[in-house]
Point group: C2
Amino acid sequence: MKIAIQGELGAFSHEACLKNFPKAKVLPCAVSSEVFEALDSGLADAALIPIENTLAGPVVVHYDLLLEHDFHINAEFRLRIEHQLLAVPGTKFAEIREVLSHPVALDQCRKFFAKHKKIRSASFYDTAGAARHVIEAGKRDQAAIASRAAADVYGAEILQSNLEDDAQNYTRFFLVERKPRAPKDTDKVSVAVGLPNKPGMLFKALSVFALREIDLTKIESRPVRGRPWEYAFFLDFLQTDRKAAENALHHLEEIAQFVKVLGRYKASE
Amino acid sequence: MKIAIQGELGAFSHEACLKNFPKAKVLPCAVSSEVFEALDSGLADAALIPIENTLAGPVVVHYDLLLEHDFHINAEFRLRIEHQLLAVPGTKFAEIREVLSHPVALDQCRKFFAKHKKIRSASFYDTAGAARHVIEAGKRDQAAIASRAAADVYGAEILQSNLEDDAQNYTRFFLVERKPRAPKDTDKVSVAVGLPNKPGMLFKALSVFALREIDLTKIESRPVRGRPWEYAFFLDFLQTDRKAAENALHHLEEIAQFVKVLGRYKASE
């Protein structure tokens, strides 16, 4: 099985692959649109994409790409994001003057930089890319903040672990494939919904779930291209009763301009 | 009046200032948290912040900062985003080999790069910063994609106008101040709402508007820090009947963990 990810080897998406599909081959792609193209062309069998983080929020480009393409979310996974300080093997912590990483990762390690005033932070396009850069440059005054997977991939030494300020830092990933799997223990559904731009429409759309006591776990709105100030809604709901869920979707179709089921899968714990 | 903005002089926030407050002094800040600090300390009288774009979606950091601080949204403005090709005066278009800009701006001008294969795009941290860089470097093989305001600020020549693929490209800005103004013709309200994590709560929250035929124009969800998979909601609604709007807010307080009014202002056209 070949899984496309966005980012270099050692990115957190790679770490999520190693954890959930230890035998899979990983295909790193520079940008998210390439991940979807790789799946479309058959270059990859699946894509593993981050969809939201508990601190930073949604990865909006992936919502847009899921709506554009006719793929299927077949699983979800949660990964605890743990930031490690990586350096050239043998480097002493006292030697480090500069730490490179993605701006979001740097921002999640503010306490580290507040504590170590002699170390300045520098933005890099990617966490794993920063790790690779530090190892390739071979400088002992530079380090990177990246995943444990990045340390393995580039042969870096982990000088300090868990630099993140907030331990409640999780990313939710979707496994996306060309065909639906719909396992028997499916209990979660993701849909995209377009609603007429009239007062009360979102309330009506949510009523199809509320009136059946179906638990909506997530709502995300995205702008509709070419129609300023109109939005598409992405909804996740728990399917405890399969018949009730199907009825809710039929009811939603009566109200909405479009309803697109993005996937049916097993909710992760 | 001194208005803090995020970004360098010539950023689209600066363009929005020039259009709506032509006599104001502008205080450029590197990051959004500095904009809010400048308002807090009195260094600035107001802040003009982008809150959403019709192609890219919400500027999530500004939602989070509005919730953290006790400021007031006193006006909203919409700005058509027009991307200009800026170069050192006297440069001929045929000389250009590289165009710098913010990745979002580059992504909004894909047709330009598809048409001109000899020109490569290069990411820069800021549109206005890219314009300044090109002028300061003085190279005739480089150009920047930035605003008309950036051309004025840095003395660049506009070689081509309106490079954007999609003309329906607007950004909505909020004017944020320390004190509420609440003009008489206020007809829009922005609130942040925390809801108990129980099924049907969002439906109940929206019912307070729907049952009074109040038009909800926008909903945005943001993760709650330290409580994974819980969300705060940002709602904008039109206040056609002041009494009905007040009743809706009282009703919402019965349901919600917290309701914070972020501002009452005149809806822009």
